[in-house]
Subunit: 252 residues, 2 copies
Amino acid sequence: MKREDSSPTACVLIIGDEILSGRTQDSNLAFIGKRCDKLGIRLRETRIIPDVAETIIAAVNECRRRFTYLFTTGGIGPTHDDRTAAALARAFNVKLIRNPDALAALDKYYAAGRLNEARLKMADIPETARLIDNPVSGAPGFQLENVFVLPGVPLIMQAMFEGIVDRLSGGEPMLIRSMATNLTEGMIAAALDELQERYQDLSIGSYPYFKQGKLGVNVVSRGTDKVRLDELAGELEEMILNLNGKVLLSDT
Amino acid sequence: MKREDSSPTACVLIIGDEILSGRTQDSNLAFIGKRCDKLGIRLRETRIIPDVAETIIAAVNECRRRFTYLFTTGGIGPTHDDRTAAALARAFNVKLIRNPDALAALDKYYAAGRLNEARLKMADIPETARLIDNPVSGAPGFQLENVFVLPGVPLIMQAMFEGIVDRLSGGEPMLIRSMATNLTEGMIAAALDELQERYQDLSIGSYPYFKQGKLGVNVVSRGTDKVRLDELAGELEEMILNLNGKVLLSDT
């Protein structure tokens, strides 16, 4: 597929020691990736970085310039290791202020007397930011230019993402077809290469798996033209059968 | 915890459209992250990038200079979308050559007549590279200076990682303790902040969760001093009980 399409691009910045260490499995990328496909936004890079202010600032400033949109997840809670909001203020060289609308949202969410000093920290937002409503747990995210700052808890992040969709300009939705086979990569590589040559408007990916002692491949086709994807799917099926393989349900 | 410790650092570069899209869940980071903790190597960043040569080259050249070690996963198979080996050769400005030892390994693995042209591609290795044995499926990975090029299939990657451990210089192993509570972040934030102040040699992370309608927090402590971690664990437990919370088994 031509990588030079004119669609908007995106980067996801996952902030958090616990995701970076690999001990907690991220699931926000999967959600944002699928939403971007549907919105016609091309997700081009993901970075996972620790809760370190300087690292956050450097990554934000690099990525917001390289991509149309930057989505960050994590680090906007009430604890000492939540450093994203303050880092974003520094990245954009604006003040971190107690935002009255954020304060009102927190005040509405928490029962009387429970909005303590730690929770009030979640109302501290970069001065020029536009809030992102949190319909689940009160504390808002925020947008600074092309950067969307979202929380790390998946259910809350997902609800908040839906609230920013109308601020995003998409392109043509990315369509995906996937098919698995018990053939191995080495057996299909030549035929797959030939297909990719003839379908340059689509991207064909080959992803080997090794499960329960069995090797196989998931073949994933991506593109914006449904008719062409259907044609390719037909040819892929034929290719697998010609090589005496089985067409299996893909699990991707 | 002091981020300025003198331990070696690492970056993981996950190469592959399918991981980047979020449709396939990566599990290599979790493995490498845990192995780095044990080896005393500080994992500082992870990037997920597509199978695009220019993107791979730029990321490799940036990250290999910033970190002691760079581990890449993915993109060294036989298909058209496996572009990592060629990209690494370009990143290091060396030739991609058919490596005789890699060829011998493939020849040994594949039954007579099955080592086709596509599979032979897996013997094409940057000229100055040192091979990394693949005890599972023949095709080797390789090392170029501080960059270790590993496959994407988790079981194979894991087996190959064990083969490079003696090429890595570690520091003090990172020890981790984790504890969960039904208290929310806002309830523990002040006490946790006070603990972090007193335990500056350790890093205390607070990770909220929201599962089956219940909020809670995993508190994860990291550091190199077992005695201090045990002391902190005792204080964390006391903190939770003092706030009328429950100490739960952490799932991280």
